[in-house]
């Protein structure tokens, strides 16, 4: 068998494809195909290097790549790299069934979206935001927290998705499966959760405000419940209780965010009118 070229897509086209994916993933987000169209947009950057003399085959690739697709943008970038690598190999004559590519994409979509949303939107963004909001509100206020947040998150998103995209392209599907099964990721999630929980504990103290306004007036003294009782037990115990109540209602009773907002409004109105809560 003659020596085959390992790659027919130039690096510049590959980088262009990645840039399209990272830059326009949700410009046309829709209920019907979710991100499917972005994948087709991305493939339009490299399609002309595949099946040079067979337009029908090219069309087949595009048809199957515009199908339903939805994943976390940065964590799922490896799937796109992998899909490009598979389509490239298929066009070079390797026997890869078209269904295999589609099935692999859809089966990797779920785990990577779940993990990506948890780590990215559940840990990285909240911690970075918490620290940057605190920075912005320190002293008499400044813009640095907002600037630092924006720069860091955009840089992190582009770096992570580039690395991940190229990893998927070079290493292929087995490597992605392998990575998903290894313990590294669980350790990462465990560590991130611990850090996140500690920062959230600090956030409760700094930013959730709940003050009891009840004053018991006797003939000689005024007994302030907040100062004389609650603060003596533990300062900020009401904010912690409130946070845990909301957490309990959302995770155990499956309350939606809108319902919680309604509850907070009711608590605020009742507490404010009766004087149980003060500001």
């Amino acid at each position: 068998m003659e020596e085959k070229k390992t790659s027919i897509i130039p690096r510049a086209a590959l980088i262009k494809a990645w840039l399209i994916w990272e830059t326009f993933p949700q410009t046309c987000y829709n209920y019907e195909r979710m991100m499917g169209q972005v994948v087709a947009h991305m493939f339009s950057a490299i399609i002309n290097f595949l099946y040079k003399d067979n337009p029908e085959k090219r069309k087949e690739v595009m048809r199957r790549e515009i199908e339903f697709f939805n994943v976390h943008i940065e964590f799922g970038a490896c799937i796109l790299g992998m899909a490009i690598a598979l389509e490239e190999k298929k066009s070079m004559g390797e026997d890869i069934p078209a269904e295999f590519i589609t099935n692999l994409k859809t089966s990797l979509m779920g785990p990577l979206a779940g993990m990506g949303d948890t780590i990215w939107q559940g840990v990285v963004i909240p911690i970075l935001l918490a620290v940057c909001i605190d920075l912005t509100r320190s002293g008499s206020g400044n813009v640095w927290g907002a600037v630092i947040y924006a720069v860091v998150i955009v840089a992190a998103a582009y770096a992570l998705s580039y690395w991940n995209f190229m990893f998927g392209y070079k290493a292929g599907s087995e490597a992605i499966m392998d990575f998903l099964e290894k313990g590294i990721l669980n350790k990462l999630i465990k560590g991130a959760s611990i850090m996140g929980c500690m920062v959230m504990g600090g956030l409760v103290v700094n930013y959730v405000k709940a003050v009891c306004g009840i004053q018991i007036v006797s003939s000689t003294t005024t007994y302030n419940v907040q100062e004389s009782f609650l603060d003596a037990v533990c300062p900020n115990i009401l904010p912690l209780g409130m946070t845990m109540l909301v957490y309990y209602l959302m995770s155990k009773k499956r309350w939606s965010a809108i319902k919680i907002i309604g509850l907070i409004v009711v608590i605020g109105i009742v507490g404010g009118l009766t004087g149980i809560l003060a500001y």
């Binding site: 326009f24 410009t27 046309c28 987000y29 829709n30 209920y31 019907e32 979710m34 169209q37 972005v38 399609i47 595009m62 048809r63 949303d117 948890t118 939107q121 559940g122 963004i125 918490a130 912005t136 206020g141 400044n142 813009v143 907002a146 600037v147 947040y149 924006a150 998150i153 955009v154 998103a157 560590g191 959760s193 611990i194 996140g196 929980c197 500690m198 920062v199 959230m200 504990g201 600090g202 956030l203 409760v204 103290v205 700094n206 959730v208 405000k209 900020n236 946070t243 109540l245 909301v246 957490y247 995770s251 965010a257 919680i260 907002i261 907070i264 605020g268 009118l273 809560l277 500001y279």
Partner: protein
């Protein structure tokens, strides 16, 4: 400041469009967050610092808000832009601005659901391009057309709301006095519990639970700023993961021989 000019209102509308249109470098992870779009709104209205502080406070509610699987629990971009604009024009404090911004954010989800539905139309344009083999035109269906539609759906209503809303802010402020203002401030003070609770749903699990209370007590009694607390939290997490994985490794070597046979069978 008592009035927004037409130019400022239009700029506010454009910021909201950029924030939710998910365009390059802005949007999704950055400008959509009230901390960032609040600062830009403040810049437009001549007070970026106040904008960042108010936007940051509004952002506390949306810390861990997730847009997963195409759902959007609240439109934090609209809450950030309009909440900050009204607060600066009306001279509101951050907590009152927050209480005002949250219902605006709920209104914004209508825009999101409308876009997600109407965007499906453009996918069929892209299907058409593919059938004709005009792959270099797909970008129009993916970026150009939906963004023109998105601009009409977001920038125009937001600019109108900023312009006319701020004209009435004085009237709203007159209502916001005494008891009503106190109630707004109480609600604004409680609201961040929601943002924290949503974040906790993803990370308050198993072994990490106890660290919430550790962080709480550390913050109560030390008064450290969050940046320092974050660094301590990072170190604690690293140490904990290292120690537990060392223990796991030891447990595996101790039981290694017993498990070997089973592993071989699985491989077959």
């Amino acid at each position: 400041m008592d009035k927004i000019t037409i130019v400022q209102a239009i700029l506010c509308g454009i910021v909201y469009w950029l924030a939710v249109g998910n365009l390059p470098f802005v949007g999704l992870w950055s400008l959509q967050r009230p901390l960032v779009c609040g600062m830009i709104t403040g810049l437009i209205l001549g007070d970026p610092i106040q904008g960042a502080v108010i936007g940051g406070t509004i952002n506390l509610v949306y810390l861990g808000f997730m847009s997963a699987g195409g759902s959007m629990p609240a439109d934090m971009g609209l809450a950030g832009v309009l909440g900050t604009a009204y607060a600066i024009v009306g001279g509101l404090d951050a907590e009152t601005a927050l209480a005002l911004a949250v219902p605006i954010g709920i209104l914004g989800t209508i825009v999101w659901a409308g876009r997600m539905t109407l965007d499906s139309f453009f996918v069929h344009i892209a299907d058409n391009y593919i059938e004709k083999g005009e792959y270099n035109k797909i970008w129009r269906a993916n970026v150009l057309f939906p963004q023109i539609m998105c601009f009409c759906m977001t920038a125009i209503p937001c600019a109108l709301a900023a312009y006319f809303g701020s004209a009435y802010i004085q009237g709203i402020l007159d209502m916001l006095s005494g008891k009503v203002l106190t109630i707004f401030q109480i609600i604004g003070g409680l609201m961040p519990a929601l943002g924290i609770a949503i974040t906790l749903q993803y990370i308050f699990k198993g072994e990490s639970k106890v660290f919430l209370f550790a962080g709480f007590l550390l913050a109560v009694y030390s008064g450290l700023p969050l940046l320092t607390l974050g660094i301590i939290a990072l170190l604690v997490a690293v140490v904990y993961v290292q120690m537990t994985s060392n223990m796991e490794a030891k447990a595996v070597t101790a039981n290694g021989a017993a498990y070997d046979d089973e592993d071989d069978e699985e491989d077959d």
